[in-house]
Structure formats: structure tokens, C-alpha cells
């Protein structure tokens, strides 16, 4: 491929070594603002510190019981200016929402408002201890209570468990509540049904709670096969776990019918709420027969993803499951004082299945999420869902003439548009398109998920992108897809312009090097 493609891209101009376009190789390996940064352990020193502390007094009294460290730990330190520079340089090798469009499907990479950050850092929230006497932390308990109330109202559910630390932890909470509810009525059920399009966390969670997992197939239109599901229901099925909107980006229109059938068979309905952003303020899962659903505060409610957490996964619960909610939880007494129900409140704790984490959940995420929710209000949140869905449909309809959209005929999508690699030629794959988008300045979409679509590309724009930004993305996405359709060999080597080219993941796994040696 030497001819420029339709977007005017000439691969040979860019790959030339020392040619006019790529410039000379530099002594440092740096390229202007693209700066290489050594490992901390290559630049730090054992005797350097960036914190001023009194020197160790070898003669100071010690009550360490003869366990004082004799060996070096093997740590190294940097002064403050070196530290700031090390991490600032590293940060510039990262893509974040603040830099550009980040359409990672099912992850809801929306703007993270800075008011959230400011509020979470108020000393009244940031500098309070989880075991402080409860009369000293009434405001914290009230935050948990207020956020819980919002989550219940937004989902149309009567109760919420606030302590789960992330989405997968929330799933575990819901499944444990379901197991506890079955146990309470002496009903030993062994099976959890999970659609094949589900997030991997669903079957992993059910297995962790000692259930046997069985797959439920999808229909050709990308929804749960209701007939197959109904046929499998029976006295051994404890629950079904369904994502709605599902991972194909579609609303499960038969959800209510599924829920009724599951309930009639004595099971419970777990809804994976990862995609709640599509329906927040528009649809209440409680109206669809859900028994438990986790809410990723780091998706729908804008708390930062932080390079892989921390998340937060409160779980809303139906009347049937609410009594089994984990400890601790917040209540208000008649005098308006908030208090925690913990192990000791034997009557009030009822049949709770117990504690899932040491303290009260992700308080730092609660303050951010509540700030976000109050900013939007009921009207703003409805607009969030509408704009998120509008943006996704706009991308779907702007791409489907050139890119295979397996469920494009199944009606509107919700907050994410799903594509497949069916028409790519010359061995080009979804991975190549993703890497080509990196060169165009975008974070790629989710790739190879859901598993039900070959070479899946799941694009979730969220509501916080402007039309101009989405149009620009569509132009770039179309250009890269055209190269894949045309079999552009050069795309197989992309990305060219990122801080690193394609990384050898096979070598990394074959001989794992998981810590610095030396």
C-alpha cells in the first residue's frame, strides 16, 4: 500500500527511518514534549528523602520487642522537585478523559466535574475517622443517607446497601443477599443463569458465591433468548443475572416478562447496572421487577476512574432482599440522629448476611457522587440519559454504511453502539482499528467484548461530548475503518505516534517480570 487512502494518509511518509517526516533520532530518546522517563529505582537513592523528618536516634528508647529491622528495605527516595517531575512526565504518557474522547464501551468515561474533587477534599469529609464516635460524624452519616435516598428514588427500589467497594463487589453483595434469602427459607438452589453477552464479572461472582453458572444464549437480534431462559427455569435456579441495557447496547424489552417468570419459579433477578447511565432518570429498574442491582458510581455518577479505581458499587435491593443487606448500614432515629447498624444491633440487623468490608464503603466517592447528583437534579439526570443515548445512536447511524453493525436493525441502541469486524480484509482486525485510532488521537473503544460479536467494537460516547467532538471522531473512525476495509498493511503496525509501539504481551506473560530487580 503506497497510495494515500481516502483520508489522505500516506503510511510510507511516517515510517521512514531518519526521513524528513520522522526527523533524526535524538540522543536522549526524547522527542520534544514526548519525554522518556526512567524507572524510579533507576533514579532514586536510598539516602535521599523528600520529606523533612528528625533523623533516627539510635539511642532512643525502643519497645519493638527485639523486632527492629536490621536489613535494608530496598526502597529509594526522591526530593520533592524530582518527585513532581517523575510523575508529571509519567502522566504525559497516559490518555485521560481530560485529554480527549474516550469511548470505552460499558465504562462510561464521562467528564469528571472538578467540584466533586473540591468537595471530597473538605476536611469535614476527608479528615474523619471511620470509627470516630457517631456523634462526631453526623454529617458523614447524613451524606450516606442522602445519597442512598437518591439512589432508591432514581431506581424505584426500597432499599440500598452502600458498602460495596466497586461494581464487582456490588454484584457479590447482590448475589450473597440472594443466597441468604434462599437459605432463610431453606431452599438450596445451585444454579445462576447468565447470558453469554454478560460482563465476565457476572459468572466470576456467581462462582465465587459457590453457584454453578449456566449460559443463556442471545437471540440473533442481540437480546436474551427469553424462550431458552424460561425453559431453563426451575427449582434449582437461584437467580438470573441480566445486564440492562445489555452489553450489545440494547434495552432488554422483555425484562419484565423475564422477571415475572423468574419470580414465578422462585428465583431472583439480579440486574447488572453498569449501563445505568443510559436510563437514569428515564426508567426505574424497580418498575421492571429487579431484586438487586449495583450502581457504579464511577460510571453513571461521574466519580473519577483513576487509572483503574477506586470504584464504588452501592446495591439497590427489593423488599424481598432488603432484610439480608450487609452491615453496616445507616438509620435515623426519631430525634433525627443518624446511627450505624452494626454487628451489635442484634434486633435491627435482622438476617443481614454480614460484613463485606471493614468500614462503611467508599465515602470519598459518596461525596463526589452526591455532589454530581445535586448538580444535575432530577431534570438534569434525565437529560444525561437522553444525550448519552442520542450520541450513541448518532454514531451508530453515522458508521453503519461502512462498518458492520450486527444489531443495527434491532431498533435504536441505548448508550453504546456495537460494531463487528466482518468486512475487514487482508487479515486486518479490530485490534488494528483500535491501534489506528490511537494514532488519530483517540482512546479506542472497548474491543472484543461482548463475546457474542466477532471482533466486537463497543463505542460509548457518553453525554459529555459536544457534537463537534463526536463529528470529528466519526471522521477519524471512518478513515481508520476504510483502511481496514481496504486491507491497508500499514495499519497492522499501528500505533506509530504513541509513547510506545505495540507491546509484546505474550513475552510479558511467558516470563513474567513483575518487580524491578537490581
Amino acid at each position: 500500500m503506497n497510495a494515500p487512502n481516502q483520508s489522505g494518509w500516506k503510511p510510507e511518509m511516517q515510517v521512514a527511518e531518519n526521513g524528513f517526516m520522522s526527523g533524526p533520532v535524538t540522543t536522549t530518546g526524547n522527542r520534544a514534549l514526548m519525554l522518556e522517563e526512567p524507572l524510579l529505582f533507576e533514579i532514586g537513592r536510598a539516602d535521599v528523602t523528600g520529606v523533612d523528618l528528625p533523623p533516627v536516634d539510635a539511642n532512643a528508647p525502643s519497645r519493638l520487642g527485639g523486632l527492629a529491622r536490621s536489613e535494608a528495605i530496598g526502597l529509594v527516595g526522591l526530593t520533592e522537585p524530582e518527585t513532581v517531575r517523575h510523575y508529571t512526565r509519567l502522566s504525559r504518557q497516559n490518555y485521560g478523559i481530560d485529554l480527549g474522547f474516550f469511548p470505552l464501551g460499558s465504562c462510561t468515561m464521562k467528564h469528571n466535574p472538578r467540584l466533586n474533587e473540591k468537595v471530597a477534599r473538605l476536611p469535614g469529609f476527608a479528615d474523619i475517622h471511620p470509627l470516630a464516635p457517631q456523634n462526631a460524624v453526623q454529617g458523614a452519616l447524613e451524606v450516606i443517607s442522602q445519597l442512598g435516598e437518591w439512589l432508591c428514588k432514581l431506581t424505584g427500589m426500597p432499599a440500598v446497601a452502600m458498602s460495596p467497594k466497586a461494581g464487582a463487589h456490588g454484584e457479590l453483595c447482590g448475589i450473597l443477599a440472594i443466597r441468604a434469602a434462599h437459605e432463610a427459607r431453606g431452599d438450596a438452589r445451585e444454579v445462576v443463569l447468565v447470558p453469554e453477552s454478560a460482563h465476565g464479572t457476572n459468572p466470576a461472582t456467581a462462582a465465587f458465591a459457590n453457584y454453578r453458572v449456566e449460559d443463556i444464549p442471545a437471540t440473533p437480534e442481540g437480546r436474551v433468548d427469553v424462550a431458552a431462559l424460561k425453559a431453563r427455569l426451575g427449582p434449582d435456579v437461584a437467580a438470573v443475572m441480566i445486564t440492562n441495557p445489555n452489553t450489545c447496547g440494547l434495552f432488554e424489552k422483555d425484562f419484565r416478562e423475564i422477571a415475572d417468570a423468574v419470580h414465578a419459579a422462585g428465583g431472583y433477578v439480579y440486574c447488572d447496572g453498569a449501563n445505568f447511565n443510559a436510563i437514569v432518570g428515564k426508567v426505574r429498574p424497580g418498575d421492571l421487577g429487579v431484586d438487586a442491582m449495583h450502581i457504579n458510581l464511577h460510571k453513571t455518577f461521574s466519580t473519577p476512574h483513576g487509572g483503574g479505581g477506586p470504584g464504588s458499587g452501592p446495591v439497590v435491593l427489593s423488599e424481598a432482599l432488603a432484610p439480608f443487606a450487609p452491615l453496616p448500614f445507616v438509620r435515623k432515629d426519631e430525634g433525627g440522629t443518624f446511627y450505624l447498624v452494626e454487628e451489635e444491633n442484634r434486633e435491627e440487623r435482622g438476617p443481614s448476611f454480614g460484613r463485606m468490608t471493614a468500614f462503611h464503603g467508599q465515602m470519598g466517592m459518596f461525596t463526589r457522587a452526591l455532589t454530581y447528583i445535586l448538580s444535575h437534579g432530577a431534570d438534569g439526570l434525565k437529560q444525561v440519559a437522553e444525550d448519552a443515548v442520542l450520541n450513541a445512536n448518532y454514531i451508530l447511524r453515522s458508521m453503519e454504511d461502512i462498518l458492520h453493525a450486527p444489531f443495527g436493525a434491532s431498533g435504536p441502541c441505548m448508550h453504546e453502539a456495537l460494531f463487528g469486524d466482518k468486512d475487514f480484509t487482508n487479515g486486518l482486525s479490530t485490534l488494528d482499528v483500535a491501534k489506528g485510532l490511537i494514532d488519530e488521537g483517540y482512546h479506542p473503544m472497548t474491543v472484543y467484548f461482548p463475546l457474542v460479536v466477532h471482533g466486537a467494537m463497543l463505542v460509548e460516547p457518553t453525554e459529555t461530548e459536544s457534537k463537534a467532538a463526536i463529528d470529528q471522531f466519526i471522521t477519524a473512525f471512518r478513515a481508520v475503518v476504510e483502511r481496514a476495509l481496504a486491507g491497508d498493511e500499514a495499519l497492522k503496525q499501528a500505533p506509530y505516534y504513541s509513547p510506545r509501539r505495540r507491546l509484546d504481551e505474550t513475552a510479558a506473560a511467558r516470563k513474567p517480570k513483575l518487580a524491578y530487580e537490581g
Binding site: G50, R63, Y87, H129, A132, A140, A166, G307, K382, L396
Partner: protein
């Protein structure tokens, strides 16, 4: 609305492209019964930044800020000074607003940080390999037990009585559902932990023995005999640490023979935050156990041009590949807290961590000596790092803690709060001292404790 860039003109143009008359046409698949006709009733409408900030500030003002009073709480969450540069670094948008590094070519920042973090944690713990973090210490503790059952193919875990009771609760909650057997116990109020008693509980069916170091009463002891006894029976030793600063002063768990070391990393970089988000640390001493570890792992490799780079690796253990056969259901970890921990640890370095630990211990010794002079008060521990247990001469510690709060001193964590209903522990108070504690704070606690004890029946 300030976070929504689309204008009505944009929306109309986009609907035209889609071929829909209104946005409601995009929700046609929602069944009639579940469609709402407008914003959900009974909830407030959108609000300005100023109004929201005012609301949240009013809530924050209802809390007693740790830094505003003499403060001595610990029990798994410690108040340390976090250097200013930590927070400015974690607020860089490239770190704050990135996600799990699924596309390593544009996530080398996060990945290199994780590689450095894993190295720091492994060295601190005296282990070969650490993962890229878990939710918190308590969930990491359960993950360690679960891993031990996989490695040994046994189903029984023996918990030391001096393991943080909330950690023990988490383990018991999970084990109830997985069918694992948990042998737990309550702490005996003795100057030194009863390791012989613990060793006697290890048998041929034991997958692991779980010991906290320093323990819930602040006591420290050499765990080598426990490691030897566990290994002799084919069991693993899991050591739990809730105060990483301690390991700047005392021997590492790995050095004493621990097979899995887990803990809470909150002390460094993270702050109290009413209990979360925190940072679960997880490491193994023997590299052969790596493939049984839970959570994300970052590894070194090279790119197509031969340059060093980093990727998430060994993901065949994980849920997104292995689904129901995964080693854990964990997906998101505690990435930003791991960054904060790592930056703080970088600022400290070997020298700073040792100095920080020494300063904590110096002040804790000072406090223990001063508080022992309060009539009716006795220090339980023979050995401790920065936290110790006071016996209050038969006075109920929980009531005294509340009374101290009314007197403007956050005086510690009562064992009555941690072990409700256990008579033998009602009169004990756990006191933590860090570099943020001043000699005036210690004097204030001694003074108010004396007054409170006198007035408490």
C-alpha cells in the same frame, strides 16, 4: 446544564441524521409500564455549583475534623501527614481521568506507576511479587484466605484472635457462602499474643493461619514459630498488616516466613476519608504462587521497536478471560490510591520511611509513658509500634470515648466498639499515635482521660 455540551440545535440535527422524530423514539424498546413521563417526582432540580457547594459544606461542617482536635484513633485507619505534592500529582487529569490500562501504548504512565508500586510493596513486605492493589485490607484478607484454599486444596482457615474483628467478619461472611471453614477466636487481654495457642489450632486440614502484625491490640511478636508450625502441617502463613509505616521499623512479614502478606495501604498517601476509598495490598513471598494471585498484575516487556514498556499481564487468571473459573471476580482495583501510596513512598524513600517510623515510635513511647501515669490506667503491651492498648481500671471504654469526644478529644477506639457484648474487652482502649500527634495532644488526652475516668461510674 454546565456538564452537557449539546444544544437543542445539535439535538435536532442529530435526530434528523438518525431518522427519529424525538429523543423518546430512541427509548421505544422500554416497555410502556416503565416509561416515565417527566423528571422523577419528589426530587430537586439541577443546581448551580455555588448552591451545591453550600449544601455539601453544611454537611461537612457537622463532622468533628480529626486535625482540629487531639486525635488518637487507629484500629486499621491511621492519620498521617500526607505531603502536599501527593494530592497535586493524583489530581493530574492524565492520572485522575484515565481507566484501567487496557491500551498499554497510551497508558504507560499508569502502568509504570503500577510496576514501581508493585516493587515498593513487595520490598516493604519482604515478598517477591505484589499485585496492583485490591479494594482494601479487609477484602485483601479474604482474598488471601481464598488463595490459600486454592493453593493447598484445603478448606479450613485458622484466624488469630488478634486479627482485626472487621477483617475476621469479612472472612466469615465470605466463607459462609463458599463453604470454607473458619476457626476464629477472640483476643485474650494479655501483654503478649498467645502464639502457642494459635499454633496448637493448626492441623492437617488447615489451608492457612491468618495473623495480624502489629495485631489489633498493637502487640508485635516474632512470627517465625507460626510460619514454621504452619509449614510443618502443609499450611500457609497469611500475615495481615494494617499499618505499613510500622514496616519502616520492624522486620518484614516475608522475612519471618509469611507466604502471603496482605494489608491496608491507607496510611501512606490516602487519608482517613471515613473508611474509603482505601488500598488493599497483596503480595506473595514465593514467585511460584503468582498464578494463583487475585487482581491485576503489571509486567515489564518490550514494544515493537524493542523499547522497554509495561502491560497488564497474566490476565488468564482474571474474570474477563476466565469468567467463572477466574481466581477472583475483581475488576476495578484501587488505582488512584495506589498512585497516592507510591508517590508518598517515593517522597519518603528508605531513609524517610525509617525516620517516619522512628518518629511514630518515639511519640508512641512518650504517650504510653504519660498515659500510664493517669490513675487507674495501665498499658497492656510489652511491645508495640505506634498503637497500644490501655486498660481503664474497670471503667467502660466506650462511654469514656464518647465523653472524651464531648471534651474535644478523639481519644482512641474502644474495644467495646470493636467487640460489642464481650465483657472481658469492655474496659480496654486502643490508642494510636503518629507523627501528627504533638506533645500537647498527649498532655490533653492524659488530662481529659483522668477527668473522664473520675467522673465515669
Amino acid at each position: 446544564m454546565r456538564y452537557l455540551p449539546l444544544t437543542d440545535t445539535d439535538r435536532q440535527a442529530m435526530l434528523a441524521k438518525i431518522g427519529a422524530a424525538s429523543v423518546d423514539d430512541l427509548f421505544v424498546d422500554v416497555p410502556e409500564v416503565a416509561r416515565l413521563d417527566g423528571p422523577i417526582h419528589g426530587l430537586p432540580m439541577h443546581a448551580s455549583e455555588m448552591a451545591v457547594e453550600r449544601h455539601m459544606k453544611a454537611l461537612a461542617a457537622k463532622n468533628l475534623v480529626a486535625g482540629d482536635v487531639p486525635f488518637f484513633l487507629g484500629a486499621g485507619a491511621y492519620r498521617h501527614h500526607v505531603p502536599a505534592s501527593v494530592d497535586t500529582i493524583i489530581q493530574r487529569g492524565e492520572f485522575l481521568t484515565a481507566y484501567t490500562p487496557y491500551q498499554p501504548e497510551i497508558a504507560q504512565g499508569t502502568l509504570q506507576v503500577l510496576f514501581e508500586f508493585q516493587t515498593q510493596v513487595a520490598r516493604l513486605y519482604g515478598c517477591a511479587v505484589a499485585n496492583a492493589s485490591l479494594y482494601d485490607g479487609s477484602t485483601a484478607c479474604w482474598e488471601a484466605v481464598a488463595m490459600a484454599t486454592r493453593v493447598t486444596r484445603r478448606k479450613r482457615a485458622v484466624l488469630s484472635g488478634a486479627l482485626h474483628p472487621h477483617y475476621a467478619q469479612v472472612v466469615k461472611t465470605m466463607a459462609h457462602f463458599t463453604g470454607d471453614e473458619i476457626a476464629d477466636a477472640q483476643p485474650a487481654i494479655t501483654p503478649e499474643p498467645d502464639l502457642d495457642g494459635l499454633i496448637a489450632r493448626i492441623d492437617e486440614d488447615t489451608a492457612c493461619v491468618v495473623v495480624q502484625y502489629p495485631d489489633i491490640l498493637g502487640r508485635i511478636s516474632d512470627l517465625t514459630p507460626v510460619a514454621d508450625a504452619a509449614h510443618a502441617k502443609g499450611a500457609l502463613l497469611v500475615v495481615v498488616n494494617t499499618e505499613p509505616v510500622a514496616l519502616g521499623a520492624i522486620r518484614s512479614p516475608g522475612e519471618m516466613g509469611a507466604d502471603i502478606v496482605v494489608g491496608e495501604g491507607q496510611s501512606l498517601g490516602v487519608g482517613l476519608q471515613f473508611g474509603g476509598p482505601y488500598l488493599g495490598l497483596f503480595a506473595v513471598r514465593d514467585p511460584k504462587h503468582v498464578r494463583q494471585m487475585p487482581g491485576r498484575l503489571c509486567g515489564e516487556t518490550v514494544d515493537a521497536e524493542g523499547k522497554r514498556g509495561f502491560v497488564l499481564t497474566l490476565s488468564t487468571r482474571e474474570q474477563h478471560i476466565r469468567r467463572e473459573k477466574a481466581t477472583s471476580n475483581i475488576c476495578t482495583n484501587s488505582g488512584l490510591c495506589a498512585l497516592a501510596f507510591s508517590v508518598h513512598m517515593t517522597l519518603l524513600g528508605e531513609r524517610g520511611l525509617r525516620e517516619l517510623a522512628a518518629e511514630n515510635h518515639r511519640l508512641a513511647c512518650l504517650a504510653a509513658d504519660r498515659l500510664a501515669q493517669v490513675p487507674g490506667v495501665e498499658v497492656l503491651n510489652t511491645a508495640f509500634f505506634n498503637e497500644f492498648t490501655l486498660l481503664l481500671g474497670g471503667k467502660p471504654a466506650r462511654q469514656i470515648v464518647r465523653d472524651l469526644a464531648d471534651r474535644g478529644v478523639l481519644g482512641g477506639v474502644s474495644l467495646g466498639r470493636l467487640y460489642p457484648g464481650v465483657k472481658a474487652l469492655e474496659h480496654a482502649l486502643l490508642v494510636a499515635v503518629t507523627e501528627t500527634t504533638t506533645e500537647e495532644d498527649i498532655e490533653a488526652l492524659a488530662r481529659e482521660l483522668e477527668a473522664s475516668i473520675k467522673e465515669t461510674v
